[in-house]
Amino acid sequence: METPLWTLDELGIRVAIALAVDYEGQANGRVRELPDRRTIRYYTTLGLIDRPAEMRGRTALYGTRHLLQLVAIKRLQTRGLSLAAIQTRLFGRTNAVLRQLAQLPGEDAKPQAAEPGRRERFWNAVPEVRQLVGVPLADGATLLLNTPRPLDDYDLSALRVAAAPLLKLLKLRRLLAADEGTPHTKGESS
């Protein structure tokens, strides 16, 4: 039952990575939109996130539930919900519900009864094919991967973040359709 504990910075990085999946404004690859201590403290007072799991010396440590809570808050905020509405929905919820709201994979959310372990209908089985999976990075750029395992959300978000410099380069070299509405490409031709 040992759950990992993170410092605020470590927690923030995990939140940012989790959010990167469908978060606009992350394309520059800089992990920026992290919760700061004031926000954390404010949300804690509202019961939106739990108090730090533990203090080690003067450092506050956070766990999985805090991650779920923070990501869920952000998800609801992107849906345009007010903080009071978010409090109504999030306060006191179980990890399983939070995981759903946060759209994060994990044990809690998985249905228990499905395939793993049992190979009952073995007669239907076909030889394993290692799949080449395409991950769309941007309009006109797809990453092809020969993966030994299926990609999960963490993989996808990490890839998005890591791909940002490459995309920037592609844009700079005009190898990619220019993305309207990103003003910072303007002065780069010189």
Binding site: D9, V21, G25, D36, R51, V133, P136, H184
Partner: protein, 817 residues
């Protein structure tokens, strides 16, 4: 191995896309409710008032709307003088009578019951007025009801009795440095060295807009009594009055939120309250409890003693709005009643202490007309702000009053400390400990101003200082009591009261209050205590204002006061607990536990526990824990949630959360007014969706979303860059120059942020702002650091101009070449 090139499946794509907004998702695994997913469903308070004693039954109903077994925690207030004498748990159609045990034993029993899978509940006292209820192993879909029975005396003064039932524990200022390790409670603030149980008195706070989650019922019934109440007035709630043949009842209108005290005042004719001694023998007849009501004689002599008075005003953030107005009015009135013969001082404190001009030295100042005027003028300008560092000003005040006690000019003077506050601090014990011993040499008057006041603390301070306490919950109430308020600093009718046996063998150490206060006209004193053996009388002795002795015998009346033992035990336990704060000892703890268990009255060292052993509903005892969030107190100008999270910022306790935020955000912080949380949210969230949000910042952002012309910002940035480049290249000039431009850069940054622009070039501005601020705060910044930052700022502005499509003036860095 075979390779196949496959497109992402629909499922894969769906995973990579944000799912459509779907409110139903939120309901997974739980019953859907519009009122959130909170454990406390209803609260009912039924009170029966008989003379000046209230019998209260409090019922709390908890529900589990989750898919897993629940442990509900509710941090709630009770009247601080009331004795909690009974606890029952109703679950699954059964009623389990709670048992009062030593607190450690009770907690252990509760934990073991949970582990064994039984339903259980426990009630603990955190402060004289703050309690914690836990109901554990409540199965999904089930309800549990807990009932507490209380008995308490009603304060009576100037012909008026007050029944106050608090309904919310307000956010409190928690000073100190965070303690290492896990906290002892489930509240939102970690424990600190100054408040080692901070996590037990800090429930989460509901935002305005949260649907009323708790159904509140409250009624007060008056028993037929010779002390017939008249002129009933509920000062903060609308009530319905019902009368039938014999009973008179007041019922609260439905739909009220738990966001302020319930205060009911009524008049009892003053000639009905007379000096009397009532004896109530125990069942075994060996011992008994006495209740002495002493009505002070009306003032006859006009003797006025010269006074030394120190006024201490809490001007912390929670005092904003009407509370500060009322505080200033009350203080100004008291200051005005001083005369040239008196001496005084005035302090206003938040994190720091301020005092008007003529004061400030170690000595008190003569209350001349001029000084009084200066004090009133000073008070009129005080605005609420900051934290509540209360220990220091009180220590300073008490020290000032008690210094040089043997001195000639101090002899024969009344020494009075006046504290005006809402009492919203968590370190009550620390404060009492610091001023406790000295405070016995002064008289303390506390004026509590709030609709969810920390009355227990203000009464403890007043008791310790042998003085009085007055509650003001509105400006209208202040109008009513204004004339009484200044009497608390007037010359008492009787001082140095002593009880002498006259037939009644009372137990000397058992008298409550432990320090008999000075008596003022119009305010009867109630003294309780224990006696042994047969009934008998008491002789009262005291000194009149003129200096002559006063004495009066009282004859006993036996019986008719069954609540006497509980009321005495509660007062006794409070005295012992306060003494424990001053002089901690094992013997004292044993005595507290013994008294509590013997008289069946809950205290801080005991707890009520109830276990339903007939069922195993949750083997293993894994529970989902929820702390019931509480309402924002009514009449707080600055939201308590803001104060609660802002408060420790001013003290060391912020250290616990002072772990380094990433640069971009610490930079953003400096530009974001914390009081406007929504702008912070905006900063931290994705671009707002226009028209779907109600938050101010989002509206603002949505309104300016169309803004694409940054002409003024471009102009401003160009100016800034030129100013920066014009600075002489020495360290001192550059440092000064950076300090001169930082405000302007911040304004540019704010505008961009408000327009939803978070390009890297904009964020870089924030980082530069933060770096400049940090550099300016340094005592001795190095040349290298200054020059590096100057260069970085210059580059940031240049890049920002490029972003806006402008042309940056050429760098003049190498101009000397």
């Amino acid at each position: 191995m075979t390779n196949a090139l496959l497109p992402m499946t629909d499922a894969d794509l769906a995973r990579a896309q944000p799912p459509a907004a779907d409110g139903d998702q939120a309901g997974f695994g739980s019953l859907s409710t519009e009122k959130g997913f909170l454990p406390l469903k209803a609260m009912d308070v039924t009170t029966r008032i008989d003379g000046l004693i209230a019998q209260i039954d409090l019922t709390q109903t908890f529900q589990n709307v989750h898919a897993v077994p629940l442990e509900a925690t509710y941090i709630f207030p009770l009247p601080d003088r009331a004795a909690v004498t009974r606890f029952r748990l109703e679950v699954a159609g059964r009623v389990i009578e709670g048992e009062l045990k030593e607190r450690g034993a009770a907690r252990k029993e509760y934990d073991q019951a949970l582990k064994a899978g039984h339903r259980a509940a426990i009630t603990e006292e955190e402060r004289p007025g703050v309690f914690t209820m836990r109901v554990g192993n409540l199965p999904p879909g089930e309800e549990a009801t807990v009932c507490l029975s209380l008995t308490g005396p009603l304060p009576y003064s100037e012909g008026e009795a007050t029944f106050r039932f608090p309904l919310v524990v307000a956010p409190r200022y928690i000073p100190g440095t965070a303690l290492s390790g896990p906290s002892v409670g489930d509240g939102v603030v970690p424990d600190t060295d100054a408040v080692p149980d901070a996590s037990r008195i800090t429930p989460p706070v509901l935002l305005p807009g949260f649907p009323n989650p708790v159904r509140l019922g409250l009624s007060v019934e008056f028993a037929p009594s010779p002390l017939a109440p008249t002129a009933l007035k509920s000062s903060l709630h609308a009530v319905v009055e019902e009368k039938d043949a014999r009973v008179y009842r007041v019922v609260l209108q439905p739909g009220e939120r738990l966001n302020r005290d319930f205060i009911l005042r009524f008049r009892i004719a003053q000639d009905k309250i007379v000096t009397a001694l009532s004896l109530q023998p125990d069942a075994d007849g060996q011992e008994g409890t006495f209740v002495l009501t002493l009505v002070p004689p009306a003032t006859t002599t006009g003797t006025v003693k010269p006074r030394d008075v120190v006024f201490v005003l809490d001007r912390s953030g929670s005092m904003g709005g009407w509370k500060m107005v009322a505080a200033r009015r009350a203080l100004a009135r008291m200051v005005d009643t001083l005369t040239d013969a008196d001496r005084f001082a005035v302090y206003a404190f938040d994190d720091s202490i301020e005092t008007p001009k003529p004061f400030g030295g170690d000595n008190l100042v003569a209350a001349t007309n001029r000084c009084r005027f200066q004090a009133v003028e000073f008070l009129s300008k005080i605005e609420a702000r900051g934290g509540t560092e209360m220990a220091k000003p009180l220590t300073q005040a008490v020290t000032q009053l008690t210094q040089n006690l043997a001195g000639k000019d101090t002899q024969g003077r009344d020494r009075i400390l006046v504290l005006v506050t809402d009492g919203q601090v968590g370190n009550e014990d620390q404060i009492l400990k610091e001023i406790g011993k000295q405070a016995k040499q002064v008289r303390v008057f506390t004026l509590g101003i709030d609709r969810a006041v920390n009355e227990a603390f203000l009464k403890r301070l007043a008791d310790l200082g042998g003085g009085g306490y007055t509650l003001v919950e509105s400006e209208e109430r202040l109008d009513e009591v204004m004339d009484q308020v200044h009497r608390h600093i007037a010359t008492p009718v009787l001082t140095g009261l002593r009880l002498e046996p006259a037939g009644l063998a009372f137990v000397p150490g058992s008298v409550v209050p432990g320090r008999l206060p000075d008596l003022f006209a119009g305010t009867p004193l109630v003294v309780t205590g224990r006696y042994r053996g047969a009934a008998g009388g008491l002789a009262l002795q005291a000194r009149e204002a003129s200096g002559s002795m006063w004495s009066s015998p009282v004859q006993p009346r036996v019986g008719g006061n069954p609540a006497a033992a509980s009321v005495w035990a509660r007062g006794r336990l409070r005295d012992l607990e306060d003494r424990y704060v001053l002089d901690r000892s094992d013997e004292l703890e044993k005595e507290i536990v013994k008294t509590s268990l013997r008289f069946g009255v809950l205290c801080r060292f005991t707890a009520f526990v109830a276990v339903d052993r007939s069922d195993v509903v949750n083997p293993g005892g894994q529970v989902h824990g929820i702390v019931q969030p509480v309402e924002e107190p009514q009449g707080w100008e600055q939201p308590g949630i803001m104060l609660a999270c802002a408060a420790p910022m001013h003290s060391n306790s912020s250290a616990m959360l002072r772990s380094r935020a990433l640069p971009s955000l610490s930079a953003a912080e400096t530009t974001t007014d914390f009081d406007d949380s929504s702008s912070m949210d905006q900063l931290l969230s994705a671009p707002p969706l226009p028209g779907r949000s109600t938050s101010r910042a989002m509206k603002r952002a949505a309104a300016s979303e169309m803004k694409t012309d940054f002409g003024p910002e471009r102009q401003r940035a160009t100016d800034l860059l030129q100013r920066l480049q014009a600075i002489a290249p020495d360290t001192a000039s550059r440092l000064a120059g950076l300090g001169a431009v930082v405000e302007d850069i911040e304004q540019v940054f704010s505008t961009m942020l408000g327009a939803g622009n978070r390009a890297p070039e904009v964020v870089e501005l924030a980082e530069v702002i933060a770096k400049i601020r940090a550099l300016l705060a340094e005592a001795q910044p190095t040349d290298a650091a200054v020059n590096e930052l100057w260069a970085r700022t210059e580059t940031a502005l240049r890049n920002f101009l490029i972003l806006l499509g402008g042309t940056a003036p050429a760098s003049r860095e190498g101009f000397w070449k």
